[in-house]
Each structure stands twice: as C-alpha cells, then as structure tokens.
Symmetry: C2
Subunit: 339 residues, 2 copies
Amino acid sequence: MNESVKLPNIYDVARLAGVSHQTVSRVINDSPMLKAETRERVLTAMADLGYVPNAAARALVTAKSKIIGILITDIVYHGPAGMMHSMEVEALNSGYMAISASVDPQSLESINRGVQHLRQMGIDGLVVITPQSDSVSVVEKLVTNIPVVYIDSPNQPKSLSASLDNFSGAKKGTQHLIDLGHKNIVHVAGPTTWFDAEPRIRGYESAMQEAGLVPRVIAGDWNIETGYQIGKALDLDTEGITAIFAANDNLALGLMHAFRERGVAIPGRVSIVGFDDVPEAPYFAPPLTTLKPDLAELGRVSMGLILGYLKGESVEHFNVVEPELMVRASTAPPLTSIT
Amino acid sequence: MNESVKLPNIYDVARLAGVSHQTVSRVINDSPMLKAETRERVLTAMADLGYVPNAAARALVTAKSKIIGILITDIVYHGPAGMMHSMEVEALNSGYMAISASVDPQSLESINRGVQHLRQMGIDGLVVITPQSDSVSVVEKLVTNIPVVYIDSPNQPKSLSASLDNFSGAKKGTQHLIDLGHKNIVHVAGPTTWFDAEPRIRGYESAMQEAGLVPRVIAGDWNIETGYQIGKALDLDTEGITAIFAANDNLALGLMHAFRERGVAIPGRVSIVGFDDVPEAPYFAPPLTTLKPDLAELGRVSMGLILGYLKGESVEHFNVVEPELMVRASTAPPLTSIT
DNA sequence: TAAGATTATGTGAACGCTAACATAGTATTG
DNA sequence: CAATACTATGTTAGCGTTCACATAATCTTA
C-alpha cells in the first residue's frame, strides 16, 4: 500500500549480479546460451530485489503484448463464466494473459467501446463470445490486424471459430423422447437473435422429421419466467402433447414450475428435456434430463485456436464440441404407451 | 487477420495534421491549452489513420498501467461472475481496464502465479475476491506497492475492504423464522474455511439467543449435494425441528430435494430459508425464501474504493453491503402454532 | 506600442526492455 | 599452436509515449 518505492529494473539486477543488462534479459527469456552459473547468479539477484519484468516495456519493444482479449456479451448466463475460466487457464499455460471486456450486446456503442479498450491494450488476439449477429460485424470492422476466434457464431468461412454442436445436441435430446415412445413433442425455442437458438430448432425438427413426426416450435427466450408463462398457458390436452424439449434449462425450469402449480405430473403426464445441464438440474423437482455441453472444452479449444495461430501452427478453422445427454427423472415413456 | 501492417503512431498523426507529436499527445490527454481548430484537425487525422494510442508506451513512461487486477478464487459459484461484471463497468467508467486472474484457492502455488502475472502486467491496484484466509497472507506478502481491496475478508485494520453483511443477513433470515413462530430452528452452515460462513453462523446464533432459543449448527459446505445428504439424514421429529436456515441456496436446494423424496412437506412440516437468491430460487419447489445480496453493489463499492484511492481521495477503509430478505413460499408458520 | 503576462505549440530526453550486432572467451581442429 | 568455430557476454539503438522545459504567438495594459 505504501507509495511508489521505484521498482527494480533490469539494470538494477544486472549491477547486483555483476553482469550486463542484456544477460539479465537473456535469463528472463531463457536463452540457451548462458553459463548455468551466470544464470544462477542473475536469478538470485532477481529474487533478492523482488524483480518483476515490466510488461509495458517488453510489449513496446516486441510489439506483442502477450495478452489475448475476450469480448463477451451476456456474462450473466451460467455458461460464459466457466468458459472464461478455462480460456484463462489455457492462455496462462502458454505464457499469455487473458483480459476480458464484457459488453452489452444490445448496444453497438458499448461493443465499440469494449473493442477499442481491448485494442488499446495491444491484444495479440481476440476471442469473441457473442451469441448475437450484430456484434460480429462490428468486431470484423474494427479488428483487422490480429487473429479473431468467434465462439458460437455461424460458420464464418474466413474466420477461426468454435461452436457447441447445438444441432446434434438438440437432435439427441429430441431422439431420447422419441425413443421413449413420445409422438407429440413440442419445442420451446430460444430467441432467434441468438446463434445457438436456431440450430437447436433445426436439430429438433430433424429428429422429428426422421421419425415421421410433426414438429411444433413455440417461440421463447432464455428466461425462466418465459418458460413459466408458456407453461401456464400451454394446452397439453387438446393436441395431446406428451413431451417438451426446451431450448435451455431455464425454460425447462419455468415450465416445470408452471406444471407443478397446475398439477400436471412430470414425467407422468408430460416429459421434459432441457439444455445446458446447470449445476442445479439434478436437484430440480423432478431432476431434469438435459444436454450437458462441455463448455470448459469449448473454451480450451477456442483459446487454443488463437494460441496455435500465433505460434504459426496451422489450425482447423472450425471446431465443434458435442453435448452429452444426461438422462434424469423428468423423462419417461408416455402414459398411452404404458396402457 | 492480415498480418502486421504497422499501426500508426503519434508521429504519423502529427505529420498528417501538420503539428508536433506533442500536440497530438495533448489531444489524446485532452489538455485545455489547445486551439479548438487544432484539436479538430488532429482528431480528424487520428480518425483517418485509425490511430489507437499504444497503452504499452504510455504505461512505460507514466509508470501507470490504468489496469486494475482482480484476483479471484472459485469463479464457479454464481456470485463472483456478476460482481466481476459490475467491477469492470465501474473501472471502465474511470478509464481503467479490469483484468482478472482466477486461481485455485487450495493451491498457494496457483495463487502465487496469479499474483505474479498480475504484477507483471503492472496493475495499478488489486481487488482480491477470496473467501479463504490463506490466500490473503500470500497476497499481502507479494503485493506491497499498490492499493489492495479485500472483498469478503475479515476486517483487516490497515487494508481497504468491502464485505457483504453476512451477520445481519443471517440474523434477518433467522428472525423471519422466529417471527413466524418457529422455536426449533437449525442452521446448516457453510464451510468454516470461508470467511462468509462464520458471520452467518454468528448472525443465526445472535437471533436465536435474543429470542431465548437454543441454536444448533450443522456443519456443511456450499454444495447442493451436501444439503441433500444432510436432508436425507436429518431427524426432524425427535427434536421437533420445524425450520432450517441454510447458509446458502445450494444447501437449501439440496435439503428441499431430500425432503421431497422423504415426503416431508415444505413449508407444511418444515420451513426453509436460504442465502444468495440465485436466479432459480423463485422457481424452486417451493419457491425459496432467501437473502438477496446486492453483489453488483459490492463490486461497485470495491472497485470504487481502489479508484478513489488512486485518485487521492480519502476513502472509507471498510464498507458493508446489507442483504435483503426475499420472502417466498418455502416459509410459513409451524404447524403447532396453527393448532 | 513596448513590456510583460498568458496562451499555444515545439523539442529533446527518458521510461525498461529486446533486437541486432560487436566482442571476448573457450573449445576444436589441422 | 595458430586458425577456425562455437559459446558466452557486452554495447548501442529504438519501440511510442509523456514530461519538463523552450519557444513562438497572442493578448493585456500602462
């Protein structure tokens, strides 16, 4: 807390170790051409002075900051947080730092500011986690001289990107219901302004069509309350709906809450499948069958893409991580098939 | 994505605007001594070239990075993510960037690395979000020349800090149960290695004692599964327990799940209060009465402390944010008091 | 209108590091 | 053991800013 005692620099270390500053620099960047004894001496001096290399000076001269920017929208949702952590770890392991700017996806102004701040830091690469399309074009315009990875954006031919395989996840979830014997399965979809929502719809439709069933999609968004409202209003009996595939666990939770209130038995009267596998899902009433995306893996892959590119490795431009089906108590065969 | 087209610097802008580099610098730092016309000309030149100031060069010469570090442990839990966001926004508003390192609180090695990385970036200040004590001493040792704010750490006399008022939150929650007429109220506590757990226990005990009731604390941790296990094992009848104050919503969720399985009615047979107000809490079965901490506010306050200090303002060394009681369906008067 | 005060702009050095080259020291070879 | 290669270290310049100061332009005022 005490103010500015002037941090030691490379020359201070050099003097103490009785070498030139360049030798100290060599130790820092562990150059191979160093007598072990000299390296030791310098290392000791560094430790004695509590020396820490000045990243600014280094960034200035190398024109490389060793910082990867993460532009992220909607940090509030569960997923991003874990993903950011895995990205950070991945970066750290390669000697990079991750620095994030979370912005409001609704406001181009906010996105702009975020990108500018990151550029100002001199980031060497950028990961964009934005599930909405407008953001992407802003970033493309503003960021031109460093590699960018888009997560969960539609496949941009020239860009690096990584995505959850929402399509096959949704298909798997729907297929699970079909396998149980359900015929009348409704999909409560996410907001179509989000990239993730659309392939989940398509995955659902694909499974239905292949089974010769008629898909029916109800528009929703990602919020619990929306699931609740839909659950309150939904007429199961007229159309004989026996199962619902919800686009995320929030919707599923809201639906289940509404059905509990209405006295609709789950899975007795209606089976429910979610998507996300939030930590609470196994403890919902009843425990929720859902699709578990390996977000940590997605983060690792994305950061790995950037780092690989920076190292000059040739990298896959497009990567996909497939979710896993977690079967729990919210799904069962339909009543009709029991009788 | 195209490689290194050499970014324009202050001299390029100066040449184009027909002024000296220092005048450009003055525009960047909006110095008052500038003819409006000159400023305009420079601004135009900057825009034309897509000029962005180089943070490294600036940091080098000013010895100020305009970066605030955030050292955070256990990012997985719900709270931290929202808090980080509000800190970031607060920092941005003052022209600072926030940069976080998330570390494993179990591993001193990991904490060490995290701190070193942040120091290396030349951070101007540090916010430490660590609910466990070992971390604090590591940080204290390593970081000596910049201001540090500890969040949710016990009141360190000489440090800046901000906390949730866990004590009064817990007291409020317990009092709510007492007011409903409960006499035999158990507290399922968090892990005592965490700073937050202890004042919640004390708050509970304080409310109980003031009401002339006997406190009983069951040791737990923050996990849903732990709540579930405790819920499965807990003998309510022998001791006539009618209410439980859980140290967080996870425990409460686990407890409720176990009671559902056992056929123990909530709130009919036992009332439950949580702590955190996770977004799902209103949709639990039944909706959970809990304490809602304003974490965004806590983040703002903490970052404000650092920024205020850096601006040379005199700041409160210790700040506290009080949680709010959210009454929902999981609490009701005990059966006995109805008869 | 000359002198000083004020406003607006320019000049050179320094921040701490690495890159590129220069030099000294040591091993290898004919 | 001189000549050559290689290893280990030193020297100088420059990255893009801001700071401290110097100078030029403009405004006051007696």
